[in-house]
């Protein structure tokens, strides 16, 4: 399970980002737990200055604007890699 957080105080772009990630994960059959972080102090703890921000397994991978589909696929593939050994 990949842990994903979308940082942003509820703007349209933040909602779109969350929906797009869910969509990509579903299309690739990758299990993710997606959470929206809307509280400002928590957002600021990640040191993100433009929202929406995306945090995958505790690491900020993106800040500002809706990420492209290709980028999301890249993140999910990279994060999913850690789990591959379990499949053997």
């Amino acid at each position: 399970m990949i842990d994903i957080k979308v940082l942003g105080s509820g703007c349209t772009n933040c909602r779109n980002t969350g929906a797009l990630i869910e969509d990509v994960a579903r299309a690739r059959g990758i299990a993710v737990s997606l959470r929206k972080v809307e509280a400002l102090p928590e957002i600021m703890r990640y040191g993100v200055m433009s929202t929406p921000g995306v945090v995958i397994d505790g690491k900020v991978v993106h800040a500002g604007g809706v990420p492209s589909r290709a980028k999301i696929e890249q993140w999910l593939d990279a994060a999913g890699h850690h789990f591959l050994p379990d499949l053997d």
Partner: protein, 348 residues
Amino acid sequence: MDAVLAPLRRWPSRQPLLFLLLAVAAWFGLYLTLTPAAEALVAVLPVERDSHLGGALQFFFYDTPKVLLLLTGIVFIMGMVNSWFTPERTRALLAGRTEGMANVMAASLGIVTPFCSCSAVPLFIGFVQAGVPLGVTFSFLISAPMVNEVALTLLFALFGWEVGLLYLGLGLTVAIVAGWVIGRLKMEVYLEDWVRDMPHTAAAVGEDRLSLGERLDAGFAAVREIVGKVWPYIIGGIAIGAAIHGYVPGDFMASFMGRDAWWTVPLAVVIGVPMYTNAAGVIPIVQALLAKGAALGTVLAFMMSVIALSLPEMVILRKVLKPRLIATFIAVVASGILLVGYVFNAVL
């Protein structure tokens, strides 16, 4: 189908220089055909060229593609430029500087740093946290939404380069001076407590090794996002403008928004505050007001007030600023805008 189109769609990122050259050539080619194309279109329609309607249609057919073409070109270039000026880099440039020149820098960086009003608060905290002085942060926050490429392009395309340049100069001046004044007032204690208590962070800049192709992609993304959002306002605005050019009596607005009445400028600012829209949304109104004889200073004050002082943004900022600092912010910026309005009306 998609398999055929995908490589076509990706070639600009692979051959960025070639794409840029071709795009520039195509852009200028299109721009040069605007007038003949508009004339030809009106000539085909069963309307007298010299009639009210003919004039209005020619105006519409010429101005709509012109404005959209200019906007697409400039937003694309700014999208590429923006990829150099991330908020993190801007913050690192400003951190630890003393006020004065830093206000000028902050206001100027406000033009080129990508900014969305929904990011205003994280940006604000991020700046303060990294040791950017409060007044300098405000210079940036005032300039970023007010002096932006969409507002400048529209002013340039619809009212000429003089008005665009004036708006640029005055917007920067208001941002610099207002930020400097707020800095002088030493209002750091009026930040919300949780903001002041946040740990200080270093203003680090991440790796930035984008290729030209990736910057092109940033340009495309900017066009999709910005032009995709504002084109209905622009077409609506030009349609209103075209109708006004033909049909509304010339001095309709002059009687109550002309330069003779002193109270028009404050009224314009007060009306502007509760209105919340982007630069593109306010241009149709500006167009209508100017065409009907409203004074330029009054109209620019109105436009700045709508964009820089908006009620919803105050509500968002209230999360990090105590009421007294918000009140000061509004008072200082509003005074600056008032001054701009009066100076303009007096000089022109």
